[in-house]
């Protein structure tokens, strides 16, 4: 308990530092947020153009797709906002020898790395995600109930954890290879699949993004439950279960990686 309290306190302190840092570079951050918004905007334009050619996409209406898409941006944005520093481990921290710093400090390395940065341009994704959900909700006829609202809120941290776990595991590969940014990148490309209904994919892809790199649980399955109320045990329960398993794997790989780094250095 004391440990948790200390971690929360540390987290708050790091976040405050980051906010101060951002104030120093306001312009860059604003341009970054606009950049992300713009990126999302072009993706939506793409969807809109596609739907101008067809009545629905394999049974899914534009509004439903927008809802799923919008929902997918929430865990993605949260992961991006809070845990983005893991990227730099694979891209340059290990390669440039800057990881040494973390090892000479008396706090858990993974925790230290995770909370050190705040990636404010993630607000581009979060804003767009929330906007899309708000826009699409009136036209997708969701039956709301108390339990559904609670489950919806509860599933978001777990969905985020799927991202964090995968990023932790893949970033940790850099401890062996010096550089793993692109492995993380490759895994992250799978989350592009998750923005759309998995029913449009063939079996191979569907199984991969459901059971192996389960990005489908960061968006499609929870969103499907919200839209239809179907099978909460699978759509929500599996999200929770898989996210825990993945985070667990991530932590194990990380710890093994740090051990390996200690034996090789950079």
């Amino acid at each position: 308990m004391k440990q948790v309290k200390r971690m929360l306190r540390m987290h708050r302190i790091f976040v405050t530092q980051e906010l101060k840092r951002m104030m120093e570079y306001k312009g860059d951050f604003i341009v970054g947020i606009i950049g992300f918004l713009l990126g999302q905007f072009f993706n939506l334009l793409f969807l809109w153009i596609i739907f101008s050619q067809i009545p629905n996409l394999m049974g899914w209406t534009l509004e439903q797709i927008l809802f799923i898409y919008g929902f997918s941006l929430i865990p993605k944005g949260l992961d991006h906002l809070l845990f983005d520093n893991l990227w730099s481990i694979g891209h340059f921290t290990v390669r440039k020898g800057d990881f040494d710093k973390y090892l000479t400090r008396p706090i858990n390395t993974l925790f230290h790395v995770m909370v050190e940065k705040l990636q404010i341009d993630a607000f581009g994704e979060l804003i767009m995600g929330i906007a899309l959900i708000c826009i699409s909700v009136p036209s997708v006829s969701i039956e709301w109930s108390v339990s559904k609202v609670l489950l919806t809120i509860a599933v978001i941290p777990f969905a985020t954890m799927i991202y964090v776990g995968i990023k932790t595991a893949t970033a940790a590969i850099a401890f062996w290879t010096k550089r793993s940014g692109n492995i993380t990148y490759m895994f992250y490309m799978f989350n592009d699949f998750a923005k759309y209904p998995v029913t449009i994919y063939n079996n191979v892809v569907r199984n991969i993004i459901t059971y192996i790199i389960p990005f489908a649980f960061t968006a499609f399955y929870p969103a499907k439950y919200i839209l239809t109320g179907d099978n909460p045990l699978f759509n929500i329960g599996m999200t929770v279960l898989l996210s825990i398993i993945i985070m667990f794997i991530g932590v194990i790989v990380w710890n093994k990686g740090v051990k390996a780094y200690e034996s090789v250095g950079s």
Partner: protein
């Protein structure tokens, strides 16, 4: 206090072949090779000592330091500080040490300096009163006041180094590792930093392990040095021991208006010196002769020189430590 026993470290290294074909080969089939960075190093450091840890480039110094600071795990051998072993409990071990890598900074680059100390206070769980006391002390010794509110990226190299040293001492560590703390600094700043290190060592009884290429750091700060080369111990002892063991080089200085002194004096042939044992430098009328006093006694050199040419103002000096170490680095032991 610190005890280092038979430390050894091996690495694997990928070999690259030159050219386009080589690039292709290593793209798919990299070759590896074992490299021994640290072969067998042992030494002890008692509490409160400033130890100069030196050696030529590539001797394995930074690998040793990384093992001592818990960044690298030794292949074999141990290092302990107060009985604590970094590979057993890193977190409690690193609370006992402070580390400054002169080429890198642990300060938050974009924030005012003060913020860094605030964060480090939390990381090392320094209680408030202890923090204020320590900050006041560090402020006094390292004179941080004038730039503590400036963003770190705007600090000069000397200010940054002072700030980094303060950052490493915030949690009052028992051992301070300084890796090249005066690199790239001007003479005055170097002096200030040395004084500060000495002050901290005296006041806090902090044990200091100092790696440097600037031998003045060593001469002014440390009584004892450990020298390594090719991953093995080369010398361990005080500076005067180093001088008496390897300081057989003496310097003969004199003024003369004679020309062609090499021809006239011709020490090499007369005494049968080896190439390494004698060196003559001439600048205008000033002549410096460095020679091995084990090969030829000083008195013989003196009388022979006085005999051969007309001389004014002659003197004999012990070789300075720099000269000794230059010779040691060059030839190994």
């Amino acid at each position: 206090m610190i005890s280092v026993n038979n430390l050894r470290k091996e690495f694997k290294k990928t070999i690259k072949e030159p050219g386009l074909i080589g690039s292709f080969k290593s793209l798919f089939h990299p070759k590896c090779e074992k490299v021994v960075a640290v072969n067998d190093i042992s030494f002890e450091v008692p509490k409160g000592e400033i130890l100069g840890f030196i050696g030529p480039n590539g001797a394995g110094k930074s690998t040793v330091i990384k093992m001592l600071t818990g960044i690298l795990t030794p292949t074999s051998g141990t290092c302990t500080i107060n009985g604590k072993n970094p590979s057993e409990n890193r977190k409690s071990y690193v609370k006992e040490i402070g580390v400054v890598f002169g080429q890198r900074t642990q300060l938050w680059w974009d924030l005012p300096l003060r913020e860094t100390y605030g964060v480090l206070k939390e990381i090392y769980e320094v209680p408030d009163d202890r923090y204020h006391k320590q900050m006041a002390f560090l402020n006094e010794v390292l004179e941080l006041d004038s730039f503590i509110t400036s963003p770190v990226r705007t600090l000069s190299l000397g200010q940054r180094m002072r700030a980094d040293i303060a950052a490493s001492l915030l949690h009052s560590p028992k051992v301070l590792f300084l890796d090249e703390p005066t690199i790239g600094l001007d003479v005055v700043v170097k002096d200030n930093i040395r004084k500060a290190i000495e002050h901290i060592n005296k006041q806090e009884k902090t044990t200091v392990i100092l790696t440097t290429h600037d031998l003045a750091d060593i001469e002014l700060l440390s009584k004892r040095i450990v020298m390594i080369d090719k991953g093995s111990n080369m010398f361990d002892g005080t500076i005067s021991e180093l001088k008496s063991k390897y300081g057989q080089i003496r310097e003969l200085n004199f003024e003369t208006d004679a020309k062609d002194i090499e021809q006239i004096l011709n020490y090499k042939q007369h005494f049968g010196f080896n190439d390494d044992d004698i060196k003559i430098e001439k600048e205008a009328n000033n002549v410096t002769v460095k020679f091995n006093s084990n090969a030829v006694p000083v008195s013989d050199m003196l009388s022979y020189t006085l005999d051969k040419i007309n001389i004014s103002d002659i003197s004999v000096k012990d070789a300075d430590i720099e000269e000794i170490i230059r010779r040691l680095y060059k030839q190994g032991v």
